[in-house]
Symmetry: C2
Subunit: 364 residues, 2 copies
Amino acid sequence: MIEGMKNNITSIDVARLAQVSQSAVSRTFTPGASVAEATRAKVLEAALRLNYRPNAHARSLITGKSRIIGLVLSYLENLFYPAALQRLSERLQKDGYHVLLFINQTSNADDLVTEILQYHVDGIILAATTLSSDLARSCADANIPVVLFNRVMGNSGSNNLQSVSSVRSDNLAGGKEIANFLVKSGHKRIAYIAGNEESSTNLERERGFREGLADHGAHIWGRATGNYEFAQARLATLELFKPGHEHPDAIFVASDHMAFSVMDTLRYELGLRIPEDVSVVGFDNVPQAEWGAYELTTFNQPLDEMVEATASLLQERLSDQEKSAGKSIVIAGNLIVRKSVKIILEKIDQKVLVKPKLKPKVKT
Amino acid sequence: MIEGMKNNITSIDVARLAQVSQSAVSRTFTPGASVAEATRAKVLEAALRLNYRPNAHARSLITGKSRIIGLVLSYLENLFYPAALQRLSERLQKDGYHVLLFINQTSNADDLVTEILQYHVDGIILAATTLSSDLARSCADANIPVVLFNRVMGNSGSNNLQSVSSVRSDNLAGGKEIANFLVKSGHKRIAYIAGNEESSTNLERERGFREGLADHGAHIWGRATGNYEFAQARLATLELFKPGHEHPDAIFVASDHMAFSVMDTLRYELGLRIPEDVSVVGFDNVPQAEWGAYELTTFNQPLDEMVEATASLLQERLSDQEKSAGKSIVIAGNLIVRKSVKIILEKIDQKVLVKPKLKPKVKT
DNA sequence: CTGAAAGCGCTAACAC
DNA sequence: GTGTTAGCGCTTTCAG
């Protein structure tokens, strides 16, 4: 039997076995430190024999860096977040960072801050739908870089928050493009199902949508709120489709996750066909959006680019505290057209659009 | 302006301000330590003024406990895992633990171990589909409690692995119950779409399924493998429904996640109706299973109980290293009947079932 | 109940 | 390139 006892091998043990000083061991495990190849080899061999790994806590105590990033999330049922989580974690791991996870459904901001700060994380990524501003401020006060993922700072406590950075997709342009698409494809009674009313994502998407509609002299025909949750989106749909009233011919739903709920409600509770009776557009482009059951037309948030931007931003902030503080990165998205929107061609030519000059295609 | 400088307040600073010793500060922040109420109050006030929080790394260095649990996951697109992650994290947080996340798609076992072990986590939860045995052994060697979530140890390296605990639902019984249900509801050509062939979940589910079928003198009519992935499940379906051949009248799919893919393929590529033309049963009971588009009959893995069991097990192991080492907890699940299975009543009486004595219901 | 002193495992200066 | 020394911030004996 190999001795299975407490495996508390320290750098001193390794040093002893390798017949070098403790510092030599340390340097061997510090990328970029200067050790002779021979020394390094001796250390490595001893370390291997003893099954030694440096103690990250001791290291972080002296260096002041933990190589841990705190990641705050709240609602994982919307696949956008697991997907982001996975990519973020992998990207950070590549840089030698690890993710300490905080799921924040119930707990309040103050407790969370206390917990996060104890671990002296090097940075924080906030992807929680709520409570951004409180938490963000506390962290900024504690002088640790915070980057908001998929949201921006509210205007509630905008005192010393210039330091908080953010990465998000172009929600405004997205809302606009969707409005444009819906009008051009001939829809007349266009409704909006909102996400969380206070969230920056919802605010921006709705504003863009309104502006896009206005560009065509149109406006939101009906509106209900789903608060980014599945069950509430169903209720919102029912509200918009009260029996005996005229109903929307298109709905822009503020997230794919809610859009699925809306589509299910439309089809299986209200007996409506998509897109023949109602068109539906989502936002996010989560994996499910292309599933056969939905084929949802939606605005793609380019996750990889958002993750990359987040990681780089964090990196910058980590190396130079002041430099990119408060930087706000907006990633362009793009409309993904699938089958959940009806294209009413005849209407396009007759009413909505300025008649385009028909360029006859010449075959070569 | 408040001074936004490096906020490195230590217990010494607090001690000084509160006019007590450093130990007094420490004791104030150590649950269950003996401090006079007056001292405690002074310390707390000073701490508040200075915005002090104990440094978790320093603490863990001396106590030997990090209050961090390493959680290893691999495939978040299957909602079962985000859901588990969320509950696990919340449950652990309640006990004062935090989750250090390791997403393991690409990286190999050894690297992962090295990384995890550096943080001297107090325990590890392995919910990754692959690589269990390697990783589990390394950790067991390093003497840190490992609990397998939703899987058990393979028999590959069963040397000193008695120490690895596991929590899972009763996959065997689940497979059996599904077989029984499918046969009794009158299906004749019952197929199986497998998950990852090496995973314990797949092995157990399939074995239970076979046994259940055998109880009725039936057997698996067709089989293909989807490896727990969405795209592969589609391919598996296509394979099972080659044109020109007779096709299954029921499919048991080893996970809900794959079942959605199967249903989409059946409906939108093959033009078949569910359950009229084919019945589909899944496994897991993820949130999507009850969505209107699927209404999937499936075997429920009771997540909350599994999480609770995992947390308690970990707790036990943490307090008494030897006690519950190697304990394996199996949680009973239950079949959730929705609309994806056709009940062919006439067949039940005529062929499959031993004709039951009809107990006429007496109305009182 | 409280304080002084020692030390967890490591890295960063500093001399050599 | 290498070893010696000091000390990161905390908890924990041990006296008092």
